[in-house]
Symmetry: C2
Subunit: 181 residues, 2 copies
């Protein structure tokens, strides 16, 4: 049975605008000595699978500097301090895809990259959409695309989508959406 | 159409043992001014869905400092310099789950967290397993668990698994494994 590590010391190594890096010195049960763990702290986040009345998924296309390419993704974003995951999902859906949703289903929550970062991603299915845009962040260049559900699913399965949270959330939504269509 | 950003300057902000943080100053088409992007550079990685002759998935349980909890995940790890994704997958499968595989199927590749980090995760299905362990990293405390395929799939779908790459890779493997069983 894997056991929690005992944290002997923790030091901030970097503080940026969106992330913080800390280094923990830990003791690991059954392993001699002390060991170092480098951890990126990032706010938890949400990803939304928004389905319109015609059965399209509202997705967003954006250039990702970290990937060095344009990616097609689900609407998503970091949770603000004091914000609930559900409120964040509603806000991000309005900011990135210009729509509000009346029906919400929680699909799950997962760590996007638990070997590196603390980010926990809450995934939601959103339906009963109405146009209700909020202004996007000033430095975000995001374009909404309506993708038929069967195409989105095919792209997730075929490797055409290259965003991990979008693949996971679309496949988690599959049993719910298939029930409707 | 979202366009690549023009990088005007790039500066290293942090260099740790496994990650590096850089800050890019970018120009974004259609948006005034210059903007900052904070990017975590991490090695690309692999995740493996290893299926034994009885239809179990070989998974690993480990404590994740970033998440602050024990997670059940697929075998996975970072690609060493000069190593191919396939060779890395074979090595990680031997180190973490004690087995080599004779049959490999590429399931896709995805960015685990493209808003933050450069990590591209290559996902593989592995079969025809034989016991063939390699020593684990000295500071890794990883326990192998054999999980029946139907249980792994149910846990991925129900939210019981909390590791994003494992959810994505298991659901990507579903059409292949269902064909066998």
């Amino acid at each position: 049975m894997a056991e929690p590590h005992r944290v002997l010391a923790s030091a901030e190594r970097y503080r940026g605008s969106r992330i913080r890096v800390r280094e923990d010195t830990v003791a690991i049960a059954g392993i001699e000595g002390v060991h170092s763990r480098e951890i990126v702290e990032a706010p938890d986040a949400v990803a939304i699978v928004p389905i319109d009345a015609e059965g399209n998924v509202l997705m967003v296309e954006q250039y990702r500097n970290a990937a060095g390419r344009v990616l097609l993704e689900l609407p998503a974003g970091g949770i603000d301090p004091g914000e609930t995951p559900q409120a964040c999902a509603q806000r991000e859906l309005r900011e990135e895809a210009g729509h509000a949703a009346a029906s919400w289903t929680k699909l799950g929550a997962f760590y996007t990259v638990p070997g590196i970062a603390s980010e926990l991603m809450h995934a939601f299915l959103a339906a009963d959409l109405t146009e209700d845009p909020l202004p996007a962040d000033v430095d975000e260049d995001v374009e909404m695309r309506r993708v038929p559900w069967s195409d989105a699913l095919r792209m997730a399965r075929s490797g055409e989508l290259m965003d991990g949270k979008s693949i996971a959330a679309l496949l988690l939504a599959e049993p719910f959406v298939s029930r409707w269509s």
